[in-house]
């Protein structure tokens, strides 16, 4: 589903090497944690999969498509295949919960009928069935992240990326989000989550890719945060 071959990313403006000759394969339906200390290159990895940044060298294949050669105009269509949630939720503040989720469907020109049917379904799936009319600033952090998740999956993308999705949440709320991610993964979506939350990684028993200064230090199936290779 996701393949990286000898990917290196050097930021031109400051010369920082964010990824150093990374090769990695993530299969369909996998749940992968990308862990590592701050500055180890996790976010750069996620951004690359969204084509927000381009690799300096190497090849990047998503769903059978080489995205290093993707044209600017084609980026939106890549992003419709790759749902994403962030630490800071990134909801549209002027739209209600319902509209935030519906927006993702309006982009792909779904029919109003389809939107009216699907959005409430997805909202109740993330436990927000009754919050459709609320605005993001009226919600708690956990609720906002649920909205973001609902928006990310409403078009049923094959891949879901999450960059520190629990970073702004208290432990209990964080676990609720993790349960949702696990459900989404159980329904067949490939999930890649960047995090440095040790307890979460240790308890989930999923594949763990550990990064350090831009290189892949360890890659362990059903691993923990500090596992040796």
């Amino acid at each position: 589903m996701i393949t990286l071959e000898n990917v290196t990313k050097i930021y031109e403006d400051n010369g920082a090497v964010a990824l150093r000759d990374v090769s990695l394969k993530i299969g369909k339906g996998e749940f992968v944690f990308v862990v590592g200390s701050s500055g180890s290159g996790k976010s750069t990895f996620i951004k690359m999969l969204l084509k927000e940044v381009d690799p300096t060298s190497g090849m990047l294949i998503i769903d059978g498509m080489d995205i290093t050669t993707l044209k600017r105009k084609e980026i939106p269509y890549l992003r419709r295949k790759v749902g994403v949630v962030f630490q800071d939720f990134r909801l549209l503040p002027s739209k209600t919960v319902y509209e935030n989720v519906a927006f993702a469907m309006q982009i792909v020109e779904a029919s109003p009928k389809m939107i009216r049917r699907t959005v409430p379904q997805v909202l109740s799936l993330v436990g927000l069935g009754k919050k459709g009319k609320a605005y993001p600033n009226q919600l708690s952090g956990g609720e906002q992240q649920r909205v973001a998740l609902a928006r990310a999956i409403v078009n049923k993308p094959p891949i879901l990326l999450a960059d520190e999705p629990t970073g702004n949440l208290d432990p209990d709320t964080a676990w609720e989000i993790m349960e949702l991610l696990e459900n989404i993964n159980a329904n067949g979506t490939t999930v890649v989550m960047a995090t440095h939350a040790k307890d979460i990684v240790d308890r989930m028993k999923k594949r763990v890719v550990t990064m350090d200064k831009g290189i892949v230090l360890r890659d362990v199936m059903e691993g923990g945060y500090d596992d040796e290779a």
Partner: protein, 370 residues
């Protein structure tokens, strides 16, 4: 784009205008002020043009006759003058007409005593369609004058044709005439009178004294008056006004786009993070642009409608006043509000729409590269 998507964009655009109420008002005010100035300068340009046209139309050419030509001579000349291209009107003033005119002009009945032995000349008042064509008409008049002058001599001459053609094979009437060349053969020569007329007239004149030379006093058409100074000034003013209004409007449009761009840039900047988010969700550039463009167009439209309405009402009053004030209306009339605004109105709306659309598209570009 599907219809439902268009509807979505229009909804978003309108919603955004109300959401950013103060900003929208500011933008409308800026667009309105710019378009107001454009409308005012357009109205001025159109009217100056129009007034000049009227003044030009009143500046004619007058042709004064000497004592010698009789009424049939003058009638003949009138026919010729009417044939000149660009001449729209030829009006004849007899000696009595001239005296009547002078009497009213000077308000002096005492002039009545001159009626028996009237020293005032008979004249034509000639109108030309466009002031730019006056010079060519005057040239034609000079030709007619020369040719006519010539008749005072040729009438008395015997066998004028022989004299005219011996040297240069030029003559005034189209005829076939045998000419003996050096070899002694007789060659028929056909000459068209059209282009050669002037040459012929000068030739004849030269042989019949010095018609047209310095100090010569014309006996037929004594004078051709054409107020060259006034017409030259009018033509210059006309050009200056046209050039200035085009430059002024150009500069204003430029400034307007700049101000609108900055205003919308501010709106866009405020919504920068929103645009970012939309891009993460997979929106295309145009999907993001459309609501902004529609917002810009609506702002531009409202910004154009308000000054158009105000200017229309005010202009209507001004035109009404000027066109009904006795002294001013004698000189020139202004265009009516309806006349002007059936053109200026759509132009203003179009400018508003374009300014809004261009402004919003331009100010967005930078933020779409995520």
């Amino acid at each position: 784009m599907k219809l439902r998507t268009l509807r979505y964009h229009i909804n978003e655009g309108i919603r955004s205008i109300f959401k950013n109420g103060l900003m929208s008002l500011a933008s409308i005010a800026v667009v309105g002020a710019c378009i107001f100035i454009v409308i005012v300068s357009l109205c001025m340009a159109v009217n100056i043009d129009y007034v000049l046209e009227q003044i030009e139309a009143n500046v004619g050419i007058s042709v004064m006759f000497g004592e010698e030509p009789d009424e049939s001579d003058i009638a003949g000349i009138e026919q010729q003058v009417k044939q000149i291209p660009h001449v729209t009107e030829v009006k004849y003033y007899s000696k009595d007409d001239a005296l009547d005119q002078a009497k009213t002009m000077f308000d002096a009945d005492a002039l009545e005593g001159l009626r028996e032995d009237n020293p005032l000349p008979r004249s034509f008042d000639i109108k030309v369609d466009d002031i730019a064509n006056q010079e060519s008409v005057i040239k034609e008049l000079e030709n007619i004058r020369l040719e006519f002058e010539k008749t005072f001599y040729t009438d008395k001459q015997e066998e004028p044709a022989d004299e005219q053609t011996t040297d240069e094979n030029v003559q005034t009437e189209e005829t076939t005439q045998p000419v003996t060349n050096e070899a002694g053969a007789v060659v028929p020569v056909v000459i068209d009178s059209g282009e050669a007329t002037t040459e012929a007239a000068r030739d004849t004149a030269a042989s019949a004294e010095d018609i047209g030379k310095e100090g010569y006093v014309f006996r037929g058409i004594e004078k051709i008056n054409h107020l060259k100074e006034i017409t030259d000034v009018l033509v210059t003013i006309n050009i200056i006004v046209r050039v200035c209004s085009v430059i002024l409007i150009g500069i204003l449009c430029f400034i307007s786009v700049g101000i609108i761009m900055n205003t919308i840039k501010l709106t866009v900047f405020i919504r920068k993070s929103e645009i970012n988010i939309m891009k993460y969700v997979g929106a295309t550039d145009w999907f993001i642009r459309w609501p902004f463009v529609i917002e810009g167009i609506i702002i531009g439209l409202i910004g154009a409608l308000i000054p158009t309405g105000i200017c229309w009402l005010v202009y209507d009053r001004i035109a009404d006043f000027i066109n009904n004030t006795p002294f001013i209306k004698a000189i020139a009339q202004l265009k009516t509000a309806a006349d002007i605004f059936c053109v200026v109105g759509p132009v203003a709306l179009l400018i508003g729409v374009l300014l809004g659309a261009i402004g919003s598209i331009n100010s967005l570009e930078k933020h779409l590269n995520v």
